[in-house]
Subunit: 380 residues, 2 copies
Amino acid sequence: MPFSFNVLQSQGAARAGVFATPHGDIATPTFMPVGTLATVKALDPDDLHRAGATMVLSNAYHLHLRPGDELIRSMGGLHKFMGWDGPMLTDSGGFQVFSLETLRTISEQGVEFRSHINGDAKFFTPETVIGIERNLGADVMMQFDHVIPGQSAEPVARDAMERSARWLARCLTTFNESAANAPFEQALFPIVQGGIHPDLRRESVLRIAELGDWVGFGVGGLSVGESKPDMYAMLETTDAVIPRDRPRYLMGVGFPEDLIEGVRRGIDLFDCVAPTRMGRTGAVFTHDGRLNVKRAELRADPGPLDPDCDCPTCTRFSRAYLRHLFVTEEILGLRLLSLHNVHFLIRLMRTAREHIASGTFDRWSADWLARYFAKSEITR
Amino acid sequence: MPFSFNVLQSQGAARAGVFATPHGDIATPTFMPVGTLATVKALDPDDLHRAGATMVLSNAYHLHLRPGDELIRSMGGLHKFMGWDGPMLTDSGGFQVFSLETLRTISEQGVEFRSHINGDAKFFTPETVIGIERNLGADVMMQFDHVIPGQSAEPVARDAMERSARWLARCLTTFNESAANAPFEQALFPIVQGGIHPDLRRESVLRIAELGDWVGFGVGGLSVGESKPDMYAMLETTDAVIPRDRPRYLMGVGFPEDLIEGVRRGIDLFDCVAPTRMGRTGAVFTHDGRLNVKRAELRADPGPLDPDCDCPTCTRFSRAYLRHLFVTEEILGLRLLSLHNVHFLIRLMRTAREHIASGTFDRWSADWLARYFAKSEITR
């Protein structure tokens, strides 16, 4: 079994661990940059290595449409195709097809939808999605799940949670049946659903556990419109019921404050498009909150984006220069800010890990959040 | 004197030399990537070093408008502003303001024009342009010259050549007067003009020589609409009259075939936006001619852009992947193709230099061009 997870140290619910995969070990907690279309936008694999990335995400929905998962399989799999030799995870496309709204029809069998690229009719089922993820060949593949808005009422959330559990069983059957002919060693992660309803979250974990012994667990349906206290409450609920000796992956969460709050509640893996998407609009994370480089007062600012950052952007370029790149719409600006933001989150998690190991995580995380919000325009 | 030029070997008119500047030595012949707005589009300084770039261009006109040359001076000069520690050259903006067509008024004093960004009225004279280039602080600054279309008749070309010579005298006066207070050691290059008229080209060199002893010479007003035989004929004319112990810079020329033909006619330095501009449209140079990565038949092509290229794009990524990046409009594609094209031209000139040194340049360059055009859709 090429997958394992070892918790090396813990402080409260926070854990410092190592998640071993066929493409290498991942020191947890960590942030995983998102390479939706087989590239973390504006960054190349060497950029990702320099930013300290160990595991990278990609997306079954997007890659199925372009360039096609069959093509990627024929080219030797996603690792080879995109030139990333480290661990990789693919999302199932559940979030994407349920986000299509008017373009989709949901049934117990699966989701009919039209491609957002060319309108082609498509049908995603647990079986077809596992086929796609097998073709891509990521180390970890996520189950196809039923995703709902964050504030959904209990009956809606129950229905989606129960369907996700039934779809998980079908995913697992296809996953097992396809193992013999699969060109890559892969693990299937279930996704805990249940919206903002603690009983549903607990029941989701129980139903998942009935189906087998899992390499790790996704926690889905959060950071999708619910309040922060609701999200944090759900993480406390799932922390209490997901086996402690398995990695937990909080899907789609990528702001620094949420990463720290997640680690406090037993989360090991995070992903989000926020650092790269924000970077492309000129917004960056700093230890003193968020900053937009287009602000006029940075015009002649010789300092780095963040004086406490050691990324290739902060060590080489001034705020004045980065502002100039954004004002003149130079492509280089998109890369340099994406690089900073990804580096920032990965380093944040590495630092958290060091403090968990040394028993100083509680104090450090409280101080970190206090500084982050002290000068920030955003509030907790 | 921090500037010098030594011809180490020559074969016919082709020379292998070293051009020494305050920011380092340049092995010639070489191609200089163009960083119009203080960035070679989509590339950072480390990319340029990896591509083998030694000297980089930037542009007085564009930087005067954004972010402003005074700001760049206050930030410590262009080298520091853009993070490039190697040799640098600034173009004077002559080509840009004369390209504005309806937005400009030319007089003996200078050129009145409106900014293409916000319509602000501006007045470029030899004196103001030298002031701008002093603020930028590049190792080499080009004179402000009168640029005309490539096929201009003799009277028009004579008028522009003579005005360029008078403007050179004014540039030189301002250059000398500003030397004492200049924060950077810089050299001023004159620009040989005269259109496609050999007599005017010779007279231009004579007028320039009357004004002083120059560190190097620009050859301007070529690759602007005249035929290739006309361009090559002008290079033969200037080769015969520009002092052989000075570097010659053929302005705005950047296709592989023209670089080789230029070296054959005594040119040492080239620049052009072509490799980056083409790269952003999906077009690349290869040893077998040009290739557009968006072509459908590359969809599953596992090979590199050019099997004989050792750039960071060709050694890491397949044509199929690069095509995918362009089809999906991913930013990374712009960088990877720009990187390949810049690397390609720099390596071509490094190889030419090696063959000049070993006495095999004539044979190598003939073979190189034969292969390049054999499969190419473009013709000689």
